[in-house]
């Protein structure tokens, strides 16, 4: 359709004359900026990930050599410190994702359901309160959290009132699961668990759980993102409308039954969006780690995104840094494609279901 129209106007000339030129002129700034500062740089970094460039002069100078997959091998299969650092950062981020994604989704949903009540007064104020942390900068939030979670800080003062001796949160490298195991007397790995496993990390280390320091970052993430996701849920809840709620009440469904049998199924598309957006975002955590210095708490808060930065800019292992970035890149792209595929998949199916009902 659009094509035939375009052909017709091009032949006809007249008032659409010059449109093609204007079109390209209009998109030119955006296209040039994207090409020069996004597409070409990614190519350049791809080359660096296959090279032995050490940060000296240009990565394109003739003394830089192509080293094939050496940089990728150094962080994934060759046992050594580089592999161990990468493995630990993957473990840290994995636990971060495992806790952040479900918790932020549940809390955002809870907030949305509470704020959505029709009878509630001052809904706007509550919404503002929950959303405000989402608009502030990560740097400011990290400062606030460091202040709250310091050894003599507000959080420890509050839990101290219940007789609990709080840790020095941001400096405590104890894995939470290790901590729980030590309560029942297990403090050492035995047998296979002590052997170096996937990415050079022993099974015991893989099972450490998020460190106490990482747990503070998990809380920080939930604090800042739940407001954003609350808005997504709120929009979906409002499109469900009150009629269905009332119908459910008339049928004698209790609030819990109504929530699980009606609200949750109707929110499924949004739930899926929130989960995948959370998944994609949580694998990119960088700002918080950078502000905290990255290597504090015994390396238990380092993530692949931070390690890529640190390998390149601090340790001058540019090839390895770029290699980590590309592994992360491909992993996140796969997650994104999965999301798009699933969303596209659901569209027609929903339509079919609707047609079946009619």
């Amino acid at each position: 359709m659009a094509n035939t129209a375009a052909v017709r106007t091009r032949r006809g000339g007249g008032i659409r004359r010059g449109e093609a030129r204007a079109g390209w002129l209009f998109v030119a700034p955006a296209v040039v900026i994207t090409l020069v500062f996004l597409v070409i740089p990614i190519m350049l970094a791809l080359w660096v990930s296959f090279s032995d460039w050490n940060g000296f002069q240009s990565p394109l100078n003739p003394r830089v050599n192509f080293v094939g997959l050496e940089n990728y091998a150094a962080i994934t299969v060759d046992s050594g410190l580089d592999q161990k650092n990468f493995g630990i950062s993957v473990r840290n981020n994995l636990y971060y994702v495992l806790f952040v994604v479900p918790l932020q989704t549940i809390i955002a949903l809870l907030l949305a359901v509470q704020v959505n009540r029709a009878v509630l007064r001052g809904r706007g104020y509550f919404r503002t309160a929950f959303y405000f942390p989402s608009v502030t900068s990560t740097v400011a939030i990290v400062i606030v959290f460091q202040f709250l979670f310091t050894a003599s800080g507000a959080v420890n003062a509050v839990i101290g009132a219940f007789g609990i001796d709080g840790p020095d949160w941001f400096n405590d490298s104890t894995g939470v699961f290790h901590g729980l195991l030590s309560v029942v007397g297990i403090t050492q790995p035995s047998g296979l668990l002590a052997e170096p496993g996937f990415l050079g990390i022993s099974g015991w280390e893989w099972l450490a759980g998020p460190s106490v320091a990482m747990s503070s970052l998990i809380m920080l993430a939930i604090f800042t993102t739940s407001g954003t996701f609350m808005l997504l849920f709120l929009a979906a809840l409002q499109s469900i409308g009150a009629e269905i709620d009332e119908a459910a009440l008339m049928d004698g469904a209790g609030p819990a039954r109504k929530f699980f049998s009606i609200t949750i199924p109707m929110l499924r598309p949004t739930l899926f969006t929130v989960l995948t957006l959370g998944l994609i975002g949580s694998w990119q955590v960088f700002d918080q780690i950078y502000v905290l210095g990255g290597t504090s708490a015994g390396g238990t808060i380092s993530t692949p995104a931070y390690l890529a930065y640190r390998s390149s800019f601090v340790d001058l292992e540019w090839g390895q840094g770029a290699a980590i970035a590309f592994i992360l890149f491909i992993f996140i792209i796969v997650l994104t494609l999965l999301q798009r595929w699933a969303l596209a998949e659901r569209g027609p199916r929903r339509a079919r279901k609707k047609a079946g009902l009619l």
């Binding site: 375009a6 010059g18 449109e19 204007a22 079109g23 390209w24 209009f26 700034p29 955006a30 900026i33 994207t34 500062f37 996004l38 990614i42 350049l44 240009s58 394109l60 907030l111 509470q114 009540r117 509630l120 104020y125 509550f126 919404r127 503002t128 959303y131 405000f132 608009v135 502030t136 900068s137 740097v139 400011a140 400062i143 606030v144 959290f145 460091q146 202040f147 709250l148 310091t150 003599s152 509050v158 808005l231 997504l232 929009a235 499109s239 694998w283 990119q284 960088f286 700002d287 950078y290 502000v291 210095g293 890529a308 930065y309 770029a322 970035a325 590309f326 992360l328 996140i332 494609l337």
Partner: protein
């Protein structure tokens, strides 16, 4: 008076209806309401109280901030932290840099993204679909993997450690182009057609007729761009190294890593956090309704 009557009747109707419902549900509904208020107030406190005690602690002495973190009102109110920010710490310089960069980036993004979005929505040219598909693909490039590539290209172009290098890469985003294209797709073409018959040039028409109509989308893009560039950290870490080019985010982050001697210096850090949050907070409160509604509208569409 006649105009009042129907609304009065309606008002009379409403309480009757809710009264009936209340009778059906009985006191249990009221208890549930009360409970949900309590939950909400508790949650709201958890979300807001950290900010309140942070503001309060920025007026405390170092010792008091460390020992009595929960205290709402400082025992001795001191402006020492703020005086240091404007004395020992080049905070005004950082703020100036951030203001300059955010302003240029915001104006540039709103302009370039709406130009591109308009062209992709309305103008017919060969390669339009290809450009649009490319932008869609770029949407999924995760920002954090761009840190190393951006540094490499800025160094190649000689833009590293300059305002140009800090600003130009941020001047357009695929997401902004996408928002504007979606918006232009949703408004009717008839007005532009009329202008076109008048013989207005494409850019003049865009500038005088199309942009004023696009105000809602422009405001959305303005908010996103300003907040995004004000809070941007990663790009400013890799695009500069001179202390004179520090922005609020990179400068205040350097305060956290404790470059200013020993001790935790919470009041100083918190004062910096409070001051750097004020502009986005103001923006948020001005456009509160819009911020909350855009997200809703975006999701529904």
């Amino acid at each position: 008076m006649t105009t009042v009557t129907p609304s009065l009747a309606g008002a009379e109707d409403a309480p009757k209806r809710s009264f009936r419902r209340r009778k059906v549900l009985g006191g249990r509904a009221r208890t549930a309401m009360l409970l949900s208020y309590l939950i909400l107030i508790g949650l709201a406190l958890i979300y807001i109280y950290p900010f309140i005690i942070s503001i309060s602690a920025s007026f405390k002495t170092d010792a008091e901030a460390t020992q009595d973190a929960l205290g709402l009102i400082p025992q001795t109110i001191t402006f020492a932290a703020y005086e240091r920010l404007f004395g020992d710490v080049p905070f005004p310089l950082w703020a100036g840099n951030t203001l300059l960069i955010s302003t240029v980036v915001t104006v540039g993004r709103v302009f370039f993204d709406s130009l591109a979005g308009y062209a992709l929505s309305r103008l017919r040219f060969r390669g339009r679909t290809a450009v649009f598909v490319a932008f869609i693909a770029i949407l999924s490039v995760p920002g954090v993997v761009l840190l190393i590539p951006r540094f490499l290209i800025l160094q190649q172009l000689g833009l590293y450690d300059t305002y140009g290098g800090m600003i130009i890469p941020l001047l357009s985003t695929a997401a902004g182009v996408f928002i504007m294209k979606q918006f232009f797709d949703s408004i009717p073409v008839s007005i532009e057609e009329a202008a076109r018959i008048d013989g207005a040039g494409t850019f003049r028409m865009f500038w005088t007729i199309v942009l004023p109509m696009a105000r809602p989308a422009l405001v959305t893009l303005f908010i996103l761009s300003f907040q995004g560039s004000w809070n941007e950290l990663g790009h400013f870490i890799v695009s500069r190294q001179s202390p004179e080019l520090n922005t609020l985010t990179t400068g205040v982050a350097s305060l956290v890593s404790g470059q200013l001697g020993s001790g935790n210096q919470f009041p100083l850090q918190l004062a910096a956090a409070v001051l750097m949050t004020i502009p986005v907070a103001i923006l948020f409160f001005i456009f509160q309704k819009r911020i909350m509604n855009t997200t809703e509208g975006g999701e529904k569409g």
